[in-house]
């Protein structure tokens, strides 16, 4: 069974708009951020019209409503990824902040000079730079699981790296450039056998696949609302309860405390210990609505639809002379097609496609080391989601032929 994409598209108001006066929008940049269904926009709108108040400790009606909505969203998110408890769902600003939380709180209290952290060559800058910073500050050691020519992680090298006794293995579940879906469960099992803690960057996987944190046995897992039909400005860090409980707070301030004296404080319990200050309340409400929306469509249907579109897109793109695709075969990847076009810079490709209303992304997609590995400065990237159609893929392909013509 799959979804009815024409019905789905009606849920997303932005997909009806035109660009450059009269050209219909062809949105192929969902890996950067997804579009938002009306249900999410209305949930946030209703929150501001009816229930807006600051959460916790308020006794008036609005404060109670706002708190209930904020916490109900947390319950929905917990259920969505099958977390054992909602207190393991820490609200952050985004995936990047979730990873930084682990780097600041868990890593600074558990890692010392010389300790090894294993990353991969396909990481987004958000799962590289926090560790570079810790390396400078603490003298931890970093090593990397290589990416093969076909865009997969070299698990033999991973095995060898694990024999060096790493303290942490942090890796992306799905590459935002290659689309590679890494064998997370297996990688986590191997890491645990070597005594390492694991952190999964799930920014690209949670929006597109059914992710079950208990089946994966992930210690930490990070993702953002805005890539999964929700608003910007809110993300999640999931963590195993015993790890989160033993970690020191991240940011200090209101809400993260139990008691404050002039010269001391005691931190709050989970999840509030990690949520200092007034959080993104309306965004949490929107996040909850996004989870409801995706649940109603069914994540298996989302994944199946994207697979079909990606399969078709790769087949169509492959036939274009001078076009080089990056990443593994369709069955090993999510809805991402990164490519270069001989003789044309990706920025020129993106700019020319934009004139036909086609939105793709060009650049290094916050994965500069991966591009260095393949010896290219940048790629063009088209990406797909539950609302993408084969007709849009055809428009993309026609657009690329136009680019080729222009650059002769």
């Amino acid at each position: 069974m799959s979804l009815d994409v024409n019905e789905i598209r009606k849920d997303f108001p932005i997909l009806q708009r035109k660009t450059h006066d009269s050209v219909p929008l062809v949105y192929l940049d969902s890996t950067a951020t997804s579009q938002k269904p009306l249900a999410v926009i209305e949930a946030m709108d209703t929150y501001y019209r009816r229930s807006n108040a600051n959460i916790h400790r308020g006794v008036h009606t609005l404060a109670e409503e706002a708190t209930a909505l904020y916490e109900a969203a947390r319950e929905k998110i917990a259920k969505f990824i099958n977390a054992a408890s909602a207190r393991q769902i820490i609200y952050t600003r985004n995936t990047t902040e979730s990873i930084n939380l682990v780097a600041h709180s868990w890593a600074r209290s558990n890692l010392e000079a010389g300790d090894l952290v294993i990353l991969t060559e396909m990481e987004h800058h958000s799962n590289l730079v926090p560790w570079h910073m810790l390396q400078e500050e603490r003298g931890i050691e970093l090593d990397f699981i290589p990416v093969t020519e076909s865009g997969l992680l070299d698990l033999d090298v991973y095995k060898a790296l694990l024999s060096r006794g790493p303290k942490l293995v942090a890796f992306t579940h799905m590459s935002n450039v290659l689309g590679t879906i890494n064998p997370a469960a297996e990688m986590i099992r191997m890491a645990h056998a070597a005594g390492a803690v694991t952190l999964v960057d799930a920014a690209q996987s949670v929006p597109h696949l059914k992710v079950d944190v208990q089946t994966l046995d992930a210690d930490f897992l990070a993702f953002s609302a805005h890539k999964m039909c929700g608003p910007t400005g809110i993300g999640v860090l999931y963590g195993k309860a015993n790890l989160l409980e033993n970690m020191p707070p991240f940011l200090g301030g209101g809400d993260m405390i139990k008691v404050v004296h002039l010269r001391s404080y005691r931190p709050n319990t989970l999840p509030h210990k990690f949520e200092a200050g007034t959080p993104a309340i309306a965004e949490a409400v929107g996040f909850g609505a996004a989870v409801d929306y995706l649940t109603s469509v069914g994540m298996d249907n989302v994944a199946a639809h994207e697979h079909e579109i990606t399969d078709y897109a790769l087949e169509r793109l492959e036939e274009i002379p001078g076009l080089r695709l990056f990443g593994p075969d369709a069955q090993k990847k999510g809805g991402v097609a990164a490519f270069t076009l001989e003789g044309v810079h990706p920025h020129d490709v993106a700019q020319i496609l934009d004139q036909d209303g086609i939105a793709i992304r060009a650049g290094h997609h916050c994965a500069q080391p991966l591009h260095e590995k393949f010896g290219i400065p940048a790629t063009s990237r088209a990406s797909f989601y539950l609302y993408s159609t084969k007709e849009e893929v055809d428009l993309l392909v026609n657009g690329i032929y136009k680019v080729k013509e222009l650059f002769g």
Binding site: H345, H347, D348, G363, P377, A378, G408
Partner: protein, 131 residues
């Protein structure tokens, strides 16, 4: 689009006249645009009275960045360095004959930024050089 990718831009991108590297050179500077990874190096030979005797650019990037580098280098050969220091954003846009949005403007101005940082003998190229 037809405006943005005028024939002159495509032509200078595909067949640049001044791509290369001068050795020896009197001035050399390079920089990149972190947003897109465009890279430009400019080398100059100058005369004793402060005139550009010869110039070349090298690097990689989009059509806008590479064509503007070729046009810029072409325009400064034989010019006093004092005049080169006065070049600004408007001069580049006139050479290209197009108007650009803020993102692509950075591509177009990279070569001027590199050139002026080199001529002024600065350690680092800043956006203020091309405002």
């Amino acid at each position: 689009m037809d405006d943005l990718y005028r024939e002159v831009i495509i032509e200078h991108y595909k067949n640049p006249s001044y791509r290369g590297h001068l050795d020896p050179h009197d001035i050399k500077f390079e920089d990149n645009n972190p947003l897109c990874g465009d890279h430009i190096e400019i080398t100059l030979q100058t005369t004793e009275d402060g005139t550009v005797k010869d110039a070349r650019f090298d690097g990689h990037g989009c059509a806008i960045s590479q064509a503007s580098a070729d046009l810029l280098v072409e325009s400064i050969i034989g010019k006093p360095l004092e005049d080169v220091k006065k070049l600004n954003k408007q001069d580049i846009l006139e050479m290209l004959g197009i108007d650009l949005g803020p993102v692509r403007l950075k591509c177009a101005l990279l070569s001027l930024k590199v050139l002026k940082a080199g001529v002024y003998g600065l350690g680092e190229a800043s956006d203020e050089l091309v405002d």
